[in-house]
Amino acid sequence: MRGFLSRIQQWGERRLPALTRYRRPETLPIELHRRRIYIVPTGFGVGFSILLLVMLLGALNYANNAALLLTCLLGAATSASMLVAFRSLNGLRLSHIHAGNAIAGETLTLTLEFDSSRARSAIRVDLGASREAFAVDASGKACVQLPLSTTRRGWQPLPRLRLWSTWPLGLFRAWSWLYPQQQVLVWPQPEFGGPPPRLPVDDGQQRPRLHQGEDLAALRHYRPGDPRRHIAWKASARHDGLLTKDFEQPETRSEWQLDWRHLSGLNHEARIARLARWLGEAQAQGRTYSLWLPDQQVEAGNGPRHYAHCMSALAMLP
């Protein structure tokens, strides 16, 4: 009996995947076909059909064949538009999903890549409350960007997507559910405020050293004693006093070693949030930084890829 039931279920899943698999994610690529496309009239379609019925009755009652012919033409075009609506989805393939990066609580940009063997128009994707319309041109490729809201760090499965279309006349709505088996990684949210990282080497030279570098930092009013070659003559000519160029030597920023072990007083998530803030600050200041986590160690580095690597490592912490 159990075997029989499971065979029925297997058969059902094979025949009607959209009915039975709607709770089960599927691997990409997902191709839409007749067993998973549903179609119903839109509100306008229902109204229009009633209107056609009224026209039919009127034409028959007044024995007016020209009006009957017009009604038949409209009716035939209406029913054909149902097939066109179905065809606008049939055979469409969701081939890839690229996810951007986002911090928990912010929206993440998903890029859906569709391909098809022919051009299609006016297809819409719903993801939660957001909706995008797109067309597939003759090249057969289309990319759609959708915002996805996030709540907490870590792997987040994609929600169900709905693809739908009312092409061509807005009378019928064909739709299909997509549940791609794909997860997106959401970075942890940094804490607000809090102490700076404990620096391994305190070199004591926090203030920028002015007048000694090569890079022009600012212009300021002349003070007696400024070297004559530092006076900005051209700028001073447009001003009512003398202006002096200030020079500054870029500070050699120290490397930050961000270490999980130094945050022993905090709980798990607070540690992650603090590390995330430090990573953000380090990235903003253009520092070199390394990250030590219980399960992995990220060597020192800088730049956006390094930052993404560190944040992803944080996000994947248990």
């Binding site: 690529p29 007044y62 009006a67 012919l69 033409l73 029913s79 054909a80 049939n90 006016a122 067309a135």
Partner: protein, 656 residues
Amino acid sequence: MRLWRRTARNEPAIDTHAFDLLALTIAIVLLVHAPHLPIWLSAVLAAMLGLRWWQRRQYPGHTSAWLKLPLIALLAGAVVFSYGTIFGREPGSALAVGLLVLKLLETEVSRDARVGIGFGCFALMAALLFDQSLLATILVMLGLLPALAALRALEPARVPTSLPRELLPGLGLVAATLPLALVAFLLVPRLSTPLWGAPNRSEARTGLSDTMSPGNFTELLTDDRPALRVSFDGTPPASALRYFRAYVMWDYDGHRWRHAEMRRVPATLEASDTVSYRVSLEASDQSVLPALDVPLEAPAPGRLTADREVARRARPTNDSLDYSLRSALHYRLQADLPDYARRRGLQLPAGFNPRAIALARQWRQQQGSDDRAIVQAALTLFHDGGFRYTLSPAPLGQDAVDDFLFDTHEGFCEHYAAAFTVLMRAAGIPARVVTGYQGGYWNTFGNYLLVRNSDAHAWSEVWLSGRGWVRIDPTAAVRPERVELGATAAAGNQLGWYRTSWLHDLRNRWDIVNRWWNQGVIGFDEMRQQGLLTPFGIPHTETATLGLLLAVACGLFAGAGLFWALRRRRANDPVLAAMRVLERKLARRGIVRRPSEGPQHYFSRAARALPQQRKALEQLMQCYLDLRYAHAEPAPELTREFQQAARDFQPRRVVK
């Protein structure tokens, strides 16, 4: 204004293209309704449409409710002022067209536009209730194109095109579904009786009137519209014999001749030469059905009167009417004239036309009892007395016949027929006026006779002892062309430039299309529908059969449509197709290719699973890899080889 803006108004406004198409649809609706709307209303609505179109281009946004509400009230007021009521076909459609134009004022979002288009389709259909001629129908069908295009334009994310190109897909959709529409048109069961009141005819159709006074034919004689079409079984009668009798008029009060029916059996008729024919009568107000000369029996929709006119059984309707008849070309009608008829045929009002009566009495004295000689004397008078045929004769006074015979000497068939009949009666010969149609255009292509309103004619019948009633056409004495060639030839160039001969000829030839439309489409009624299957041996098709046929046909079309919709474009990569075949075969043995799996890995996995066929699989893999990666353009024989190998490969059962 806030009151009227719904909360769901945060939808985006429709784009210019969609709006233009909607405005175009409404313009066509206005155009097809214009013939029956008051001119000022059409002009105002057209101006409003244009203004709104211009306004939206210049200052986007919808019109405020403070403008709309008074306009609606104004429109309702105008309709009531113009028609006296708001119910009925004309006021109803005037109101509908007006509301449609007003709807455009507030149309900004797609919902409003869709409502406008649906309503527009309805208004297009309503226009056909007034005029279902071929041209009107084509114009209405053209109105569907911008409507469908506007619906498409409301969809998001379309490939942008120019406005004329927007119309093409709609045309394609209609053309593709035309077979279904035509089958549905043929098979939708027609109603034998209307569900609710058939429309009142309110538009006055021209046609022959049951009274005649000199001059009241003028409007008819300049009306070019078809009156009837006649197809004959066998050869048609000669043009001089094509007299279609409609009204027989006995009563004369000095001003007008009047038709009055007597409740008596039809007059006796001895026919020697008969012809069968079929008449398709255009919508008209006439209460009699024109018949060639003297009909032998009444057709289905009529009955014979005492004077062998064919009176309509039902009230005239807005539709054309078909009937079959048999008529005598040579005959003796009412060989014995009863007394009451003789008295009636000699009756003349006292105190009118003394000079004409004196002339007739003088003829009688000269000719004695020879009635034929008197008739000939009258015809000679018309022929040689300086009479002229014209459609715009001088007005006549109190003694109309005297004035015509002795002063003005000009007129057309009515004048001649009336004067002749008066002369005959004064001379003691029973006579009566007959109106109807004479002549017509023989359409050789369609083998039918087209008779227009302008072919309306009046002549006389006199009773001669031994011969019965004899048709005498005094107009023929003056203008023989009238009988031989038709009204146009007789009128010469009095009818204006647009009736020049070649144009007239073209219009006559074109009429076959109208006839085809009237017979094939407009006249396809319940009776004709029941005879639809006659060629297949079923003389009478029941409504249930029609419904069944319709269902079957719809099913067939649905199947064809589904075939089209489900058809996938074949992968035009033969190597990939062969590979898919191979994958399916292997999948049956449980070796399913994973989406991320490359061909090499897949083949090696298959080779591990099917060790007996390792060699074949490795060959296939090598072949596939060569095809895919070794050449920029793989050799066709290699492709064929791979296809063959993939077809031939049969995975054996996995040995575990």
